[in-house]
């Protein structure tokens, strides 16, 4: 396999030494690692197809990888696998300003897509925390969310076409530039969020939207978590959909300030970071109404970002929240349960109770506006007893999320980290359907085996 890959891709596109493989043994997920057999870097769709055929001939599993920033173990290798790293397929192939679409290879960084659109007066809204380094292929495979999900949706809402290589090496185009298209099943949607288990995404056709003319950023400070949750419910009930509605608890605020000193108030129990955008008058009016709602719902203070630079600093601070929390304890385990927005306060109360009763440190932040929370366990993977308590606490939180009509993962994917809880959420029939789709597309279980389900 190694020699054949070298002949196919060139010697510098195949890694086999332990010093080269160890750094590909993990992604952004805590406490998961596994050394692959080799790592390959194809440069074209044809090379991807050829690698898949070689893997089939040799009976090896294939784990596709972009920049390895995933948070559910989606690109963590499985034993003896080939890691198919798409990072060198990094060209933006077309920006179509007449149809407002962008065609890119999978290895293009999401930030580059945003920048290219931005330079043309257009907007690619999905902005996962890792936007500066994550690849668009990885974002599509995980159906990544971000800070703007509330108003603009998630990655899926912008994918209108995909080039996919199937396990047998065949190459399919799914979708096109049409706004409407009902010819056959919507197969493209099957691959969005498939976590590398159904095929290898090699090209992505994205829809762009006009760039909002103006933006307003507010920071509201609270003495109580519930007051922040009530503000969110009131804003939504008032029929206002801000672009961003983020929440950080006290612990998270302190860690972010220690890293970035962006000006979050340290004394707050909770802060909300809210952004409105659109026509200048509309953005300003929404900001004013939100400010008023925040004040009448117990905000201690509400301030506006003075300029775009300050707004960008606050957003960057929020984006660093997960990593900044790693300052406290050796291991940082991030969850992303999501509930209907009407159930937010209940979910927050449960997380607080679990933390109290288990004696664990749990910091919480997240996308309040879309009900997506990030309770984060600050722990130590070497302490087996504490890890067992983390496991128990996690299960309680997942069970409650499901009971409230929510999901065990809003934007990170199931991968390895959450597969034990998936059946409970889906129910037996839906779970069986999921597996039957996998079997029909990848009968030999070659692509990212053991992810999502066993």
């Amino acid at each position: 396999m190694i020699a054949e890959c070298q002949a196919l891709l060139g010697p510098d596109a195949v890694l086999t030494e332990p010093e080269d493989l160890i750094p590909y043994s993990f992604d952004g997920t805590a406490a998961l690692k596994c050394r692959p057999r080799l790592v390959v870097f194809p440069r074209s769709t044809e090379q991807v197809a050829a690698v898949l055929r070689l893997a089939r001939d040799h009976g090896l599993a294939v784990v596709t990888r972009g920049s390895g920033t995933g948070l559910s173990g989606g690109s963590v290798p499985v034993p003896q696998c080939v890691v198919l790293c798409l990072q060198r397929m990094n060209r933006i192939l077309e920006l179509d300003e007449r149809n407002l679409t962008l065609l890119a290879e999978s290895g293009v960084l999401t930030q580059e897509i945003f920048d290219r659109a931005d330079a043309a007066g257009l907007f690619y809204p999905p902005d996962p925390g890792s936007i500066k380094i994550s690849t668009i292929g990885g974002n599509v495979a995980e159906n990544s969310g971000g800070l703007r999900g509330l108003k603009y949706g998630v990655t899926r809402d912008y994918v209108i076409g995909l080039e996919v290589v199937l396990a047998d090496g065949s190459i399919c185009w799914l979708g096109n530039k049409c706004v409407k298209d009902v010819a056959g099943y919507s197969l493209r949607d099957l691959f969005v969020g498939s976590e590398g288990t159904l095929g290898v995404i090699t090209q992505v056709l994205l829809k762009l939207v006009p760039k909002p003319a103006a933006r307003q950023t507010l920071l509201a400070t609270y003495g109580q978590l519930e007051a922040a949750a009530e503000t969110v419910s009131a804003v939504i009930a008032a029929r206002i959909i801000p672009c961003t509605l983020e929440f950080l608890d006290r612990q998270t605020v302190r860690c972010v300030e220690a890293y970035a000193a962006v000006g979050f108030p340290l004394e707050a129990e909770a802060v909300l970071l809210i952004e409105t955008d659109g026509h200048p008058a509309a953005a300003a009016e929404e900001a004013e109404r939100i400010e008023e709602i925040a004040r009448t719902h117990g905000a201690l203070a509400v301030r506006r970002a003075r300029d775009p630079a300050e707004a960008a600093r606050l957003a960057t601070g929020r984006r660093s929240a997960f990593s900044a929390l790693a300052r406290i304890r050796p291991t940082t385990i991030l969850e992303d349960v999501t509930v209907p927005r009407s159930e937010l306060a209940a979910m927050i109360r449960l997380i607080q109770r679990v933390a109290r009763e288990s004696g664990l440190q749990i910091a919480t932040f997240g996308h309040f506006g879309d009900g997506n929370l990030h309770p984060t366990f600050l722990t130590d993977e070497r302490d087996a007893a504490e890890m067992a308590r983390v496991e128990g606490a996690m299960r309680t939180i997942f069970d409650e999320a499901i009971r409230l009509g929510g999901t065990i993962t809003g934007e990170h994917g199931v991968g390895l980290a959450k597969k034990a809880y998936l059946r409970a959420q889906l129910g037996d029939a839906s779970f069986a359907l999921l597996k039957s789709i996998k079997r029909s597309l990848d009968p030999e279980n070659r692509l990212n085996p053991g992810k999502i389900f066993d």
């Binding site: 010093e19 160890i22 043994s25 952004g28 500066k132 380094i133 790693a326």
Partner: protein, 445 residues
């Protein structure tokens, strides 16, 4: 594998565990950007170090080469929300590479012995070398040999290295600066010691003079001990902790930190290391207390000037000048001094500061990296020059002699008219211009 002597295994494990491999460091790491390979990234290197500490990976040549491929620029530490102490990891890993001896080769050993153990531990020898270089450069011999192409006949690598030798100052710092100087006319508000450095002293003694002038103009009594040693940063960054500790003790013997309000460094590469004497000598009972005080008092010159509220130079009608600022890695990522040099530059009348893209990226100098890894160093130098030239500025100011030399060499190679200076040199010139245009005026602090 035996864990007994393994320096990474004996390191506090939580320092290794601090990295949660989120990947936010990747886009800021020059070597990762160059190759796109995880092992050439901060989180990849930390994974290798952790594998060594865990006994899952033997220290082999490949590990050693990786630790030396790292520039040690510390851009990753600025990017890291988790607060990983990469500097400590990196120095420990290099020390482990040296302990294991996996990179030993006669030529490398000879160069390391000559530079780390001989040249940079003996101030007199270093100065003599500087004088010989100066003789070579001014006698006409250098030009003759360069023009004749003789050196290229010997070896292309030698020609390249010779081309990078810095132009030596006419005199050294001790000749330009008295051991004690007091502000003329004005009151003394502070008492400071100035570190003259080694490369700074040999190649930029005038900058040391300018540093003293600026401190005097801001009410500091300035003490400049004679014949100072190397601070040991070169040694610590290259895995020779024992010599680094010896040199640190020597510095502390020469300059009692309790006697000063601040100890001033004007070189980012030295300053960052000088701040860590407390850690370096923590287990040395005779020095630990003074080392802690030393680290507390150690200030970069820009940081100190802003801290004491330096005097803005007066308008003298001097010709306008355009300046861009290149951040020394260890000054901005290590010492976290980034705002202050810009504040000083903006205070100068007629000076327009033009920001360059990637101003906080490494220029490729990185200690002796430009000698050990010339191709990566040249790639970074070219990238840097491109961004600096795009600003259209006449000057680039930078706070570290290694960067200064690298940028000068880069400008020369690119046929660019860009001139290199230090923010403090520009401030000193602005103060000097006041005296010329407003004669008889005593500076008020």
């Amino acid at each position: 594998m035996e864990a007994g002597g393994n320096l990474l295994a004996s390191l506090d494990y939580s320092v290794l565990q601090q990295c949660m491999h989120c990947g936010l460091c990747l886009p800021t790491c020059p070597t990762y950007v160059e190759t796109g390979r995880e092992r050439n990234s901060p989180r990849g290197r930390i994974a290798l170090m952790r594998a060594v500490a865990d006994g899952e990976l033997a220290v082999r040549r490949a590990f050693g080469e990786e630790m030396y491929y790292c520039l040690g620029c510390l851009a990753c530490t600025s990017a890291c929300p988790a607060g990983v102490d990469y500097a400590q990891l990196f120095e420990t890993a290099r020390a482990e590479v040296e302990r294991a001896g996996v990179l030993e080769r006669p030529q490398r050993d000879a160069i390391r012995w000559f530079t780390l153990r001989l040249l940079f531990t003996r101030p007199r020898l270093l100065r003599l070398t500087g004088r010989l270089l100066r003789l070579w450069q001014t006698s006409g011999l250098q030009g003759l040999i360069r023009r004749s192409g003789l050196i290229r006949l010997l070896s292309a690598r030698w020609a390249e290295l010779e081309g990078q030798t810095p132009a030596m100052s006419r005199v050294n710092s001790d000749a330009l600066i008295a051991a004690e100087e007091r502000p003329a006319g004005g009151p003394s508000r502070y008492r400071v010691a100035v570190l003259t450095g080694c490369v700074q002293d040999l190649a930029f003694a005038e900058l040391n003079r300018a540093t003293v002038d600026v401190l005097l103009a801001n009410g500091c009594d300035v003490h400049t001990p004679r014949r100072q040693s190397c601070c040991g940063s070169l040694h610590a960054h290259n895995g020779d902790e024992a010599t680094a500790a010896m040199l640190a003790r020597r510095q502390i013997d020469a300059i009692d930190p309790f006697a000063y309000d601040a100890i001033i460094s004007n070189a980012g590469g030295c300053g960052f290391h000088l701040r860590h004497y407390d850690r370096l000598l923590a287990s040395d009972a005779a020095y630990a207390e003074r080392a802690r005080e030393w680290s507390r008092k150690l200030k970069d010159v820009h940081e100190w000037l802003v801290e004491i509220g330096f005097r803005r130079p007066r308008e003298t009608g001097a010709a306008p000048q355009t300046v861009t600022y290149h951040e020394s890695c260890h000054l901005c990522h290590g010492e976290r001094v980034s705002r202050q040099p810009r504040e000083i530059l903006r205070s100068i009348p007629g000076l327009e500061l033009r920001e360059a893209r990637e101003a906080n990226w490494c220029c490729g100098s990185a200690g002796i990296y430009n000698l050990t890894h010339p191709s990566t160093a040249q790639w970074l130098q070219g990238r840097k020059l491109g961004h600096l030239q795009a600003t259209g500025a006449e000057w680039v100011a930078t706070g570290n002699p290694g960067c200064h030399l690298q940028l000068e060499a880069g400008a020369r190679a690119a046929g660019s008219a860009l001139k290199v200076t230090h923010p403090v040199a520009l401030l000193a010139a602005a103060y000097a211009a006041e005296k010329r245009t407003l004669p008889g005026m005593t500076p008020q602090v």
